[in-house]
C-alpha cells in the first residue's frame, strides 16, 4: 500500500469537477484488493475520518475530504469478468466506466445508465446512483446493480446480493455482517421522479438499495456485479433544432408519450446558450435556433418508416427549424453524444477558469409540472441579469440550468437564486438532485426536501454502519 502524508504531493485529491476544495492529512492507495480492509483499519486506528475517492468527476464535492484520510482504489489491478450467458459482469469498483462500456460493446452488450461523463469509476457511479441520457428509458444505475462487495469503516467485509435482504415493513430483521442485529428505519417520502438525493429508505426495500446512492457514507464498495442488456441492432440518433424553445418543449412532451417500440430511449435538450457554446466544436449544430433536442431510439437494422414519419410530423407541428440531422455512422453517433458531454464539460471549464464553484441545478420535477418549472426558473435567472446555459435530460423532466458567474459577487447572487430553484422544485413535488447527489454542497437543499425529520432518519441509519460518523464525513448531512 502506498501511504502519502504530504498533501502537496496529491493536490488532485483535494477537489473534484465542481471545483469544491478541501484538505487532507493522509492518502491511502492500496495496491492489492486484500489491502483495502487494512487501509480502512489504519484510518480508524488513527481516529481519522475517511473519505473514499473515485475518479473525482463528481459535481458535489462528495469525494473531497475536509481533513482526515482519503482512500482511492486506482492502483489495485482491475478485474472485469463477463458472464455472457447470464448477461452480467463482475468488476472492481476502481474500474473506469469507459473501460466497461468498451468491453461490453465488444461483447455485444451495453450498460444503459451511463452518465454523460465516462471517466468516472464504477464505484463512483454506484455511490452516486448516477444516470445518463438513456435513463429516460432504463432508469438509473440502481436498476442495474445485482450485487456489491462492501467494507465497513472498521474493516468488516461482506457481500450483498439483490433479493437477499428485504425489509419487513420498516425493519431488516438481520444485517449481512451480523445476523443477530436488526435495523429499524423511518421511510422517506421519496419523490416520484428520477432522484439521487439522500438515502433510499422505503418500506419493504432491498438492503442493497440503501448502499446505492449513499455517497461513500455507509461502506466502501470493493466489487460490483452489474446487469447488462444485449446491444440493440440499430440506434436512430438525431439532432432536431427548433425556432423557439417552446417548440422544443412541445416536441419533448409529445415524444415522451410515445410507447412500445416507438418509445425513445433518450430525450436531451439544449437551449440557445448551450448551442452558442457548442457551435465552434460541433459545426452541424445551429446556434441561431431557439433550442435543440438530441434524441435516440433503439431500432432494428433500419429505423422503421412509420417511426420516421411520426418524428417528422411532430417536428413540423412543433416549429422545427431546418432538417432533423441524423447520425449515419458510429462516428457521427459519437459526435452527437460528445456534443452533449461537451456542454457539461465546457460549463465546468468556465467555472474553473473564473475560480468560482459550480452553480448548476440538478433538479427534476414531475412531467406535468415541468414546463412551468422550466419557464419560471429561466425567468428568475434572466431577470437577475446572470448569464446561463440550459441543457438536461428533459425526457426525465430533469434540468441542468447552469449560471455562469463572472466573479464572486455574481456567484453570491446566483446562489440565492439557486436556493429558490431548489425550493420551487421541492414545491412542485420534485427533487433537488436527480443524478449528481448531495455531497457537501447541497446539504441545505436536502433539508428543504426532507425536513429535519428526514435528515434524522438518515442519520439513524448511518449510525448502524458507521457509529463514529467517520466515513464520507460531511456528505449528505453533517454529523450531529
Amino acid at each position: 500500500m502506498k501511504v502519502l502524508r504530504n498533501s502537496d504531493e496529491f493536490p488532485d485529491y483535494l477537489k473534484d469537477a465542481s471545483n469544491f476544495r478541501g484538505k487532507c492529512d493522509l492518502l491511502l492507495l492500496p495496491v492489492h484488493e486484500e489491502e483495502i480492509e487494512g487501509a480502512m483499519k489504519l484510518a480508524s486506528g488513527e481516529g481519522m475520518p475517511l473519505t473514499i475517492s473515485g475518479n473525482g468527476t463528481g459535481l458535489t464535492g462528495a469525494r473531497v475530504p475536509e481533513g482526515g484520510a482519503v482512500l482511492n482504489l486506482g492502483l489495485i489491478p482491475k478485474k472485469m469478468e463477463f458472464n455472457e450467458e447470464l448477461g452480467i459482469v463482475t468488476l472492481s469498483a476502481g474500474l473506469p466506466l469507459q473501460t466497461l462500456l468498451q468491453a461490453a460493446e465488444e461483447k455485444g452488450f451495453y450498460f444503459p445508465p451511463d452518465p454523460t461523463e465516462k471517466l468516472c469509476a464504477c464505484g463512483g457511479i454506484v455511490a452516486t446512483n448516477a444516470s445518463g441520457a438513456k435513463s429516460f428509458s432504463y432508469g438509473a444505475v440502481r436498476s442495474f446493480v445485482e450485487s456489491l462487495d462492501l467494507v465497513l469503516t472498521d474493516g468488516t467485509a461482506f457481500s450483498l446480493r439483490r433479493g437477499e435482504f428485504i425489509a419487513r415493513g420498516n425493519r431488516f430483521d438481520m444485517l449481512p455482517f451480523n445476523q443477530k442485529r436488526a435495523l429499524d428505519f423511518t421511510p422517506l417520502h421519496m419523490p416520484a421522479v428520477k432522484n439521487a438525493s439522500g438515502y433510499y429508505l422505503k418500506e419493504g426495500m432491498d438492503l442493497i438499495d440503501l448502499f446505492i446512492g449513499s455517497e461513500g457514507t455507509l461502506a466502501l464498495t470493493k466489487n460490483i456485479t452489474f446487469r447488462l442488456l444485449p446491444k440493440p441492432a440499430g440506434v436512430l440518433s438525431c439532432l432536431a433544432h427548433f425556432s423557439e424553445e417552446e417548440g422544443a418543449l412541445d416536441f419533448i412532451d409529445q415524444a415522451r408519450f410515445l410507447t412500445g417500440e416507438k418509445k425513445p430511449r433518450a430525450l436531451e435538450y439544449f437551449d440557445q446558450g448551450a448551442l452558442r457554446l457548442l457551435k465552434s466544436d460541433f459545426p452541424f449544430s445551429d446556434d441561431l435556433a431557439g433550442a435543440a433536442v438530441w434524441f435516440e431510439f433503439e431500432t432494428g437494422q433500419e429505423p422503421p418508416d412509420l417511426l420516421i414519419e411520426i418524428i417528422l410530423s411532430m417536428f413540423s407541428d412543433c416549429g422545427g427549424k431546418g432538417e432533423i440531422i441524423m447520425a449515419a455512422s458510429p462516428g457521427e453517433r459519437k459526435a452527437l453524444e460528445q456534443m452533449r458531454h461537451s456542454a457539461a464539460y465546457k460549463v465546468n471549464e468556465y467555472i474553473a477558469s473564473r475560480g468560482v464553484r459550480k452553480l448548476g441545478t440538478d433538479t427534476a420535477v414531475p412531467a406535468e409540472r415541468f414546463r412551468e418549472y422550466y419557464i419560471e426558473s429561466r425567468n428568475l435567472v434572466r431577470s437577475a441579469g446572470l448569464e446561463y446555459v440550459i441543457y438536461g435530460h428533459f425526457g426525465n423532466s430533469h434540468i441542468h440550468l447552469n449560471m455562469l458567474p463572472e466573479n464572486q459577487t455574481h456567484f453570491e447572487a446566483g446562489k440565492e437564486i439557486y436556493s429558490e430553484l431548489c425550493q420551487n422544485a421541492v414545491r412542485a413535488g420534485g427533487t433537488v438532485s436527480a443524478e449528481h447527489g448531495i455531497g457537501k454542497i447541497k446539504k441545505d437543499y436536502l433539508k428543504m426536501m426532507y425536513g429535519e425529520g428526514g435528515i434524522r432518519a438518515m442519520r439513524e441509519v448511518k449510525k448502524a454502519f458507521d457509529p463514529d460518523f467517520r466515513l464520507g464525513r460531511g456528505n449528505i448531512f453533517d454529523p450531529e
Binding site: D12, F284, I308, E309, I325, A327, A328, S329, P330
Partner: protein, 248 residues
Amino acid sequence: MKIAVCVNHVPDTATKIKVGPDGKKIDTIGVTYIVNPYDEYAIEEGLKLKEKISGTVYVIGLGGDSHKESLKKALAMGADEGILLKTDQDFDSVTVAKLLAEEIKSLGCEVVFTGKQSIDFDNSATGQMISEFLGFNCVSNVVSLTIENGSLEAEREIEGGREVVKTTFPAVITAQKGINEPRYASLKGIMAAKKKVITEKSVAQSTSKTKSLGLRLPAPKNPGRILGSDAEAIKELVKLLREEAKVI
C-alpha cells in the same frame, strides 16, 4: 451538369483489424463499415456544386452488396442516383479506376469528385488514374475549391504549404480534409433516399495488374506502464525517459 462522386465502403477507423484465415484479406466478422471519410468530402463538394449550378449527382461504388449502405448514405445526404458496380473480387487501384472511368464515361459526367485516398488500402491513386483514363484534367489533394464561369480554382495541400491551381472542365478533383464540412444525412433525406434508385451493374471481366501476396499486422506495441499518480511518479518518469528510453 452531370456530377460523379466515387464512394468507397471501408472499415470504421475504430475497427481493430484482424487478418482473415487466408492471410490475404481482413477478417470482416464484427467489422462496422462506413463511407470512406475522404469520400464524404467528395460527396459534400458534389452536392455544393449541384446547389450552385444545378445538375445531377451520381454516386458510384464498386464492390459487394454491402457497399449499398454507403451509397444509401450519400443518397440521404442529397445525391440523386446510385450506381453499384457489383463484384466480389478485389481489384487493384488501376483496375478500379478503369472500371469507374468507364461508368463515368457512359453517364456522360463532366466533373468527378473522389476522396484523396481510401482509408482501407491507402493507395491515393484512384482519382488521378480515373482522370488519365478519361483524359480529364486533375487536381489532387484539394483543400479549397472555387468554381466560377466554367473555370476551377483549387488550393492543394503540399508539403509545408499550399499550391493554387487553375483548370477547366472536364476535371477530376480529389478531396482532402478541410475542403468542406460534410453535412449529416437528414431524417427527411433518409425517407427520400428510399425512393431513389441504386442501379446494380455487373463489371466487365478484369484482372488486376498487381497481386496482393498477403497481409501482416504491425508488431504489437509494448503495453504502457503506469508509474503512479502522485509527484513521485514524475521523478520516476524523468529517470526512465533518460535512462531507459534515452530520449532526453
